[in-house]
């Protein structure tokens, strides 16, 4: 089997699971679009890395973590809706990215590809994705509680930083998935598994678990499909996800009728 394919499949499965897990909370916090836009901040990071001949991965990670803090800060400190600020900041990132990234790199930056990675980076990506998934499960109770009622969570020893933690985790997931899926579509990989899981889950705990499982399956199937048909993995993953979403709508109808 092609080594690039195996590498991509491994990354897809673990990054898909991590995106699914954190995506479950992104959807509940109604930050789907904020998250999607946030992933565009990776572009100026890629541009800068190419300009300085650095490995784009670390630059992307730094830009995304920085942007997560900015979003969180704006959400708390200003009276402008977060979406407005995020919209401004990230369309600007997209514009800067498009103008500064060389033409032959732009398609891969936007839509991903089958990445050729050094072993150290591959190990880092696999480890980070698994670590993030475990972390999300460990923080589930506190994150969910804060989303359901910030006040009650605070009285019961909750953490005001939950919003920031969700964003930082999300930023890391985007950074590790971006070479495979691309900046434009990475947001979709966090939104789609959670949306599918929400349609079929009877409870919050099953929703988080299923979102994680669907993330791994959708991303894995997308990479396999892309390799088989010789197309880009990013868009294929998104289309597989959309197909899963359409199937899940049938379950939603059945559950409603059964109630």
């Amino acid at each position: 089997m092609d080594i690039l394919f195996v590498q991509a499949l491994l990354i897809a499965i673990v990054v898909g699971a991590a995106s699914g897990a954190v995506g479950a909370f992104i959807i509940l916090r109604r930050m789907a679009l904020v998250g999607d836009a946030l992933s565009h901040v990776a572009l100026p990071g890629i541009a800068l890395a190419l300009m300085w001949s650095l490995d784009p991965f670390w630059m992307v990670l730094a830009f995304l973590l920085g942007a997560a803090v900015v979003v969180w800060f704006c959400e708390r400190q200003t009276t402008l809706p977060a979406e407005a600020i995020v919209g401004l900041l990230f369309t600007a990132s997209l514009a800067i990215g498009i103008l500064t990234i060389p033409d032959h790199e732009i398609l891969e930056s936007l839509f991903g590809g089958f990445p050729k990675l050094p072993v150290s980076e591959l190990i880092f990506i696999l480890g980070a994705a698994i670590g993030i998934t475990v972390l999300v499960f460990m923080l589930s109770r506190r994150m969910l509680f804060t989303i359901v009622s910030p006040e009650l969570a605070k009285v019961n020893g909750g953490n005001a930083l939950v919003g920031l933690i969700v964003l930082l985790i999300f930023a890391t997931v985007v950074a590790i998935g971006i070479k495979l899926v691309g900046t434009l579509l990475m947001g979709a990989l966090t939104i789609i598994p959670a949306a599918v899981a929400k349609n079929v889950s009877p409870s919050a705990r099953s929703y988080i678990v299923l979102s994680t499982v669907f993330g791994a399956i959708i991303a894995g199937a997308g990479v396999a499909g892309a390799a088989w048909s010789g197309v880009l993995p990013g868009p294929t993953i998104v289309l597989v996800g959309i197909a899963a979403f359409l199937i899940s709508l049938g379950f939603l109808g059945r559950r409603r009728a059964g109630q």
Binding site: L28, F137, S140, V148, A153, N156, P202, S203
Partner: protein, 255 residues
């Protein structure tokens, strides 16, 4: 901070175990003074009713006590006191697929693998508020107003808090259910010695269930036993010349 701690210990040793001591508390929100110079104390096992017209700052006072809004002055809880809080009009988001069981699991550190003991405890708390076990599988957003309020009491009671803070526990509930909720609270207070702080509109409830009443209208108006302090003059000062309004007043009701 050190001074405060020393003061707190000496106060608690000499007085009849106050659970909460509030002195000179003021709250300013968005440049507007919402509460001014509020002082009172609550002893262990006591039920204190907080009354006042709409906009008097009752809910803000509870939030200040919990540290949810910034305040000036001193708020001292007894050391190690465990507080349960039921906010006013809390409606869980319908888009979150949260079950009653999961909502109660927020109180357990083991969210993914709860222990049998925790469930035994839950069953007990649910039976006290008159909810059946089957309700654990329902979605929180599918409960009726009365069921939800009972659940909130069970939720607040889980883990046996020493103090319960209730912000209008019966807002939006029909009269029959309202009566039940007050008798549950009363029972808790008597059987477990739980201290209860209750915001209420309903003066008949205040007379029947609370040993002390605190009347506020942005400022302190009165504090003491209801029979002593709720004079017609006080009520005028609290609710204005038109007199107070009795919510759901029903003279035939008895406990």
């Amino acid at each position: 901070m050190a001074e405060k701690l020393i003061l707190r210990h000496s106060v608690f040793t000499f007085m009849n175990e106050p659970v909460l001591q509030v002195s000179g508390v003021s709250v300013v929100l968005d440049g507007e003074s919402v509460l001014e110079d509020i002082s009172f104390s609550v002893r262990k096992g006591e039920a204190l009713a907080i009354i006042g017209p709409n906009g008097a700052g009752k809910s803000v006072l509870l939030k200040a006590l919990l540290g949810l809004v910034p305040s000036q002055g001193s708020i001292m809880w007894a050391k190690g006191v465990h507080i349960g809080y039921v906010p006013q009009r809390f409606h869980p988001d319908r888009t979150i697929p949260l079950t009653v069981k999961e909502f109660l699991l927020f109180k357990s550190p083991a969210f993914w693998r709860p222990t049998k003991d925790f469930f035994a405890h839950l069953d007990h708390e649910l039976s006290i508020v008159g909810l059946k076990k089957e309700i654990l599988g329902h979605h929180v957003s599918d409960l009726s107003g009365g069921q939800f309020q009972r659940l909130m009491i069970a939720w607040a009671m889980t883990g046996h808090p020493d103090v319960l803070l209730f912000d209008e526990p019966t807002a939006g509930i029909d009269v029959g259910a309202e009566e039940t909720i007050y008798s549950i609270l009363h029972r808790l207070q008597k059987e477990r010695g739980t201290t209860v702080l209750l915001v209420s509109h309903d003066l008949s409830i205040v007379y029947r269930y609370s040993q002390h009443v605190l009347c506020i209208n942005k400022k302190m108006i009165c504090h003491g036993a209801p029979e002593d302090v709720l004079t017609p003059g006080d009520l005028k000062r609290i609710y204005g010349e038109t007199g107070f309004y009795h919510h759901h007043e029903d003279p035939t009701r008895t406990t």
